[in-house]
Symmetry: D2
């Protein structure tokens, strides 16, 4: 058919570092775990409540796999656009399962880094007046030509340890709650 649209837009934080693997065909694939959260004031209790939703993201777009590998880390905040896809699989004990993922394919999908939170050792804090620190927001369009990384000075330092820093989401707190 046609005349249909299947689009997911997420802004959220990576719950852990991207996982990169290669398929037998040589095609590289990146998997991201993205958390989105909502908070609201409960109408009866008046308490503030919140809920985190976890999303499985699969990137087949070569350029975006590179971007994920080089620039995204646990805690990174991203904007992304992809498509919903549900896969059927059989677990080791023979049970049929379904998994729904957000897929960024070759000429579909966008990925934009919204912070510079990929500096492991917190290079941002090393000087007074730091301001926008290691921030290197970048827009990685899904197209063949486009988007791109600002190169040069905006290249972030990645190295090192667990994601520290004043990240919006405390990935560490959530780490062992990730349901997949």
């Amino acid at each position: 058919m046609a005349g249909s649209v299947n689009k997911v837009i997420l802004i959220g934080n990576l719950g852990r570092d991207p996982e990169i693997r290669s398929m037998q065909s040589g095609q590289r694939v990146a998997n991201l775990n993205i958390a989105t959260s909502e908070s609201w004031k409960d109408r009866t209790s008046g308490e503030r409540r919140d809920k985190t939703e976890w999303h499985r993201v699969v990137i087949f777009n070569d350029r975006l796999v590179d971007v994920a590998e080089k620039f995204l880390r646990k805690g990174s905040k991203v904007y992304l656009e992809g498509q919903l896809q549900t896969r059927k699989w059989t677990d080791p004990s023979g049970v049929e399962k379904y998994t729904t993922e957000i897929v960024l394919q070759n000429f579909r999908g966008e990925l934009t880094m919204l912070d510079g939170r990929n500096d492991g050792q917190g290079g941002m804090g090393d000087s007074a007046g730091g301001g926008y620190g290691g921030d290197s927001d970048s827009n990685f369009g899904g197209g063949g030509y486009g988007g791109g990384f600002g190169g040069g000075a905006s290249s972030p330092s990645q190295g090192g340890g667990a994601s520290s820093g004043g990240s919006g989401m405390s990935a560490d707190d959530l780490d062992d709650e990730i349901p997949f």
Copy 2:
């Protein structure tokens, strides 16, 4: 956390009539099965291929439940906006399962009918002259005031040409049943 976005946009067709049920709280819920499809030309074989994706949609928004019940049927084409949500449940044999759904909640979510398949009795497919007849596209906004059915001056031209008529209810017939 916050600063996050969780949004799904679909245009697709209902695979079957909406299922409406009531929760113990009295809250009514509608379930939709939406198909989206893509077709593309295979790069190696040159053949045209296509793939259909099925989506589970759950509507908690009262007004939109009414709209689904009154106007949507198997085959209806809709535009909708909702949020991704994954539920964990245990099947009868004790196996844990996850189901991902697109949720349209009380002040979130939009639903717009993109065709006029709003014939209550579903006799459309088996009678002559049926089909695309009484076109009555409608926009049901998620907001409190909102959206609405194109009554009055904006009433779509149904009469006239060969493509009118059909056994479907017209927008005018339904006008005073509109749930807002």
Copy 3:
């Protein structure tokens, strides 16, 4: 910079046939006039009111220019995604003006036909049980590989006169109200 998103999503009807022109570089460009409408119940008067908004759409994507030329006509309903862009220009009397357009560029932008309303003479009504008539919904992805037209039987007849048929929007009614 980067880390930014500029996206417009419209579902609406063409107020007139697409205008196709060629630039000196040979690049072809299509211009569309799209109407979107809202209706709502006035809170004080209780009357139903509505408002139509007109959008200028410019297509630089070669494939999508072809699609617009071949398949879109006055009254056609489309889904499209593009970017906002404001141009400054000077009118004949030397006054500076700004025009904001929705641009569909080479690897950005999507265009999906949501009806088959491009049959000028209403071929849909010519047989009993017509059902989905000349409907030929199609999804034209912005990507290099993708989307595509279902070919074969779904190719619509275009010919002829002013847009008749049971179209959701009565383009004729609105024709002389188009503000550009």
Copy 4:
């Protein structure tokens, strides 16, 4: 008509502080200037090029006006959703002009702060240790119940690392000023 969608999604930065004014009816209105930028590698020269687009945003939604007033400043990064609207007006010399704006209305529109530039006194840029400090991303849904500020348990971890601190107000400080 109906069955139409008119939606703009932007992620960008404020070019200046929000402008808040009151209409004769008492309705408050906020105006934002938002910049979105793209960068790409020129295919012929191989140079990196970029282009900034400026957007006029008008907020009629009361809650979101408050949010803009309290939390947004020149440089703030936001996610927003609104509708395109073109206004006709006559300039002092009698020339007719059109202005296209992105409108966030009462039950339409979303606004999400994507950084923590919510320091009331604007002293951030000129004091040591400023910058990305008190990260307090917030999601201000357009709905009636909704969105909210990440207080309580979901409070972002500000303390700790080198990148914390700063002169900005923290989310907690502002908690009881939140306009919903």
